[in-house]
């Protein structure tokens, strides 16, 4: 919303201090406007971003291929009927019987890295909503320079208690 009125077409927000971030976009619509507003440079370089509601059989195959090559992919919010094309089960499937399901997250998919967000941001960010712009910007930063995920090794101690050892494949020891 701008001045209490919703513009006919999404208007790019003016976001100061954005860092140009090259990405490769699959899909279009308000996501494209929103991404440009937060500093994305659309082209053939950088991580792949799937636009909101942009996941279909063709883009899904592309995503799987990219992940298989060890690349990072950001999948923005998708409708439930896109579940067959999603690279992993979980983010848009039926809710689990127990436990919480986060609207966003990251996981390793083969050698690649998936970042996902099921919260809809594109229209609000394209219209200049700062919270949505910040979150979209965070997602871009996340997929552009993903921190290593921990590996978890589980064991059962002699007295039956469980222990989990978390390790990261980097040099940040302190």
């Amino acid at each position: 919303m701008m001045d209490g009125r919703r513009p006919e077409e999404p208007v790019p927000a003016v976001v100061l201090g954005v860092r140009p971030t090259p990405i490769r976009l699959l899909g279009q619509g308000p996501t494209e406007v929103a991404l440009r507003a937060v500093g994305a440079v659309l082209g053939d370089d950088g991580p792949t971003v799937v636009a909101e509601d942009g996941l279909d059989a063709r883009s899904g195959a592309d995503v799987r291929d990219r992940l298989g090559r060890g690349e990072a992919v950001l999948v923005l919010a998708q409708r439930p009927d896109a579940a067959p094309f999603y690279p992993v089960a979980g983010p848009i499937d039926e809710a689990p019987a127990t436990g919480r399901r986060a609207a966003l997250g990251s996981r390793a998919v083969g050698p690649g890295r998936l970042v996902f967000c099921q919260q809809r941001l594109a229209r609000a960010a394209a219209a200049g909503d700062l919270v949505s712009c910040d979150l979209l910007s965070d997602l871009l930063a996340w997929v552009s320079e993903p921190r290593p995920l921990p590996t978890r090794e589980a064991l059962v101690k002699d007295d039956g208690r469980s222990l989990w050892r978390y390790s990261w494949d980097d040099e940040t020891r302190r």
Binding site: L149, L155, Y166, R174
Partner: protein, 327 residues
Amino acid sequence: MTERRFDPTTGEWRMFARHRQDRTFLPAEDHCPLCPTRPGAPPTEVPFPSFDVVVFENRFPALARHPPGPEVPSSPLYPVAPSFGANEVVVYSDDHSLGLAQMTPGRIAKVVDVWADRYAELSARDEVAYVFVFENRGVALGVTLHHPHGQIYAYPDIPPRPRRELDVATAHLERHGTCVFCDVVTREVSDGVRVIAANRSFVAFVPFAARFPYEAHLVTRRHAPSVLDLTDPERLALAGLLKQVLAAYDDLFGFPLPYVMSVHQAPSDDGHDTVSHFHIELTPIHRTATKLKYLAGSELGAGAFINDTAPEDTAARLRDLVLRAEA
């Protein structure tokens, strides 16, 4: 004896665990059970020569996956229940002297990653209603092992303080249509006088109605119900801000300040997301270098805290220490 008893006069469950009287108490460094097991040395709790972060089930749990049956019978007036849940120990690193305040933000972010993993796993268990991450630091606060570590309690119900927080947030939402924590963050950023430090994603401030002189809350600017809902840049921002505040604590009186760190977030189910707002509460018990804030008559007897300082003054002092550290 490990059981839960319900207090019908307050409506609260209490945990009983008699075996915890026998737990390890302040061992010497060369007998630290949280250090890695060195070659040729006696085994510790951690059977590795080195590690990044380790989590294990507490040897002296008050809550367990397979608890024994209660020793006393349950009745309508006095309900008694098995102590279902989990007590886990989170060992921050294999360095006996490396606390959160001494770590780099990148290293603290790894601890946050582990909180997220444990939160996801424990909150998915049928018997768990609330996952509570915390750290007791300092002998004055009952620490029994010096090696820097935190703990995770997975409760079978929502404990009193988070329950009260959720109830108040629900009432605020019904009355104003907004999240009370979002409103508090907006107000604190606007006022500025109680802010200790802030970054793009989090704000640290002494609460307007702080219970303890140097109490600090670290709250997400964005409405995020749990650690699972934080983006990676937000986890790094939290780590950076936590380091700033904890370092200021240690500079405050020239010694490592004892504190309790409590992580408040959404219960295990998905039903509280609009009123759950991820935040960390830090409650140091010192009011001066030599004086502690005791919980006495008004606090313990009536539940009404008296603070001998003005939050605006203590925030200014902590803010100054943060700025000096950055200079």
